[in-house]
Amino acid sequence: MKSDETLGSDAHLLRSIEETGRGFYVAVGLLLLGVLWGVFAYGTQLTHGLGVTGLNQPVSWGFYVTNFVFFIGISHAGTLISAILRMAQAEWRRPITRMAEVITVMVLFIGAGNIILDLGRPDRALNVLLYGRYQSPLLWDATSISAYLTGSVFYLYLPLIPDIAILRDHSSKYRFLYTVLALGWTGSKRQIRILDRAIAIMAVVVIPVAISVHTVVSFVFSMTLQPGWHSTIFGPYFVVGAIFSGIAALIIFMLIFRRAYGLENYLKYIHFKYLGLLLLTMSFLWFYFTFAEYITAFYGNEPEEMKVFWAKFTGDQAIFFWTMVICNFVIPMTLIGIARLRTITGILVASISVCIGMWLERFIIIVPTLSHPRLPVETGSYLPSMVEWGLMVGCFSLFGLFYLLFTKFFPIISIWEIREGREVGFEEVVERVKSYLPNEEKTPISEGARG
């Protein structure tokens, strides 16, 4: 079975590569403007030092570290959808996996990049490689994120190979690139077996690596002795938050490209409903962890912890804290929990709300603790400057740009997986459901009755 068979209806998925509409150029233009603002902001920072931000003593971490944690958090979108759903043999994952995996790869660059942006001496960043100390959580970050990035790129590439082979055979553009990347894919049984096996192994390997990534990111905070940070719940809390924000980001991207590339036939309501219900589950889980965290602090009533606690609940950070709770819990619970409101628009609004809420959660973890040092000195405050806003906009724009460029070279929905679903998925599912039910008994009476 060669791969250059007729694509049929799936040829629609190659349209985004073959044709480029005006909307694409407008989008790229806007995103480039955002990136330009970021570049200009960073140039200012390189020239004048980190003083151009709103950071100070004692609030020495702010937007950049928030963005670092936020972007790394979103990278869990790919893992959850692709790996876990693949292992759970959930058939509805098929049109979603590619988008999820691309988010992971692109966002890891941006996330790690934010750490470089935060350094006072980025020209000395190589010191981490030359003189690294493995006792420092930052080194755990570096190792873990390298492993996750390598693994995710590989995990994105594997199911992409058959799709690249289709492009090699059907497209007139980029022949050399596709021929090289297709690795001589012919769709032979042996090749399919190799790929299936490799993907299955990767699905298992990438999950613990992904969990380790956000756990060690949380250790950056929980390994210190600061009130509000030195908590054992941080590892699981961050992982849950990451999966939560990852699903939300994925839903948003799915809806953007569904509209832009006319993918309504592939990304149907059922996909959004299931993802929305997952989002709702994560919302409850997030609330549970948050509740456990704060009630422990409150009940213990330790003076240093309570300073930070009251700053978040009623003090100068209260507006961010309560917005976060509304965005992360109240809105998703309403829009997704109530069946009548669980429309595509409702799910989209809930997802945007969660992204905002989870960004605020990262901010709320970092700034109040730093503002309230243990010693009896003045409470700190933090107001981000235009440079920090510029770099944040630049990061989001760069992410969008990377993503958009990807869709110009590779199909954003995995053609191969859709095909696999049509050709193999049905039977597999029927067999599976049969195996759950009691086996048919062969008695003489029933055999005669069947005649």
Partner: protein, 91 residues
């Protein structure tokens, strides 16, 4: 400027080149981790942390490298033994 069918030799070279890049990166990362273990032993700075982490990280990278080899070489070998008898020298 692009030929209708790219030169198979160039393609093969680029594919093996990709695999080589992967090898270099993984070997590089593993050497880096080993170097940091060395450094922590020299400076008596909690070598257990470095060794502990390397015991987890290095196998993961080796596994990725192994899988990459498996996929790359497996697919390329199969391709060179498929229906191109006229250009296939290896049969």
């Amino acid at each position: 400027m692009k030929a209708q069918r790219p030169n198979p030799r160039t393609v093969r070279a680029a594919q093996l080149g990709l695999l080589a890049v992967f090898w270099v990166s993984v070997i590089g990362i593993i050497s880096w981790i080993v170097r940091l273990i060395q450094l922590s032993l020299e400076l008596h700075d909690i070598p257990s942390a470095s060794i502990g982490i390397s015991l987890v990280a290095i196998p993961v990278f080796l596994l990725l490298l192994g899988l990459a080899n498996y996929v790359f070489l497996g697919l390329l070998w199969d391709d060179s033994h498929e229906a191109h008898p006229s250009t296939d020298d290896e049969r």
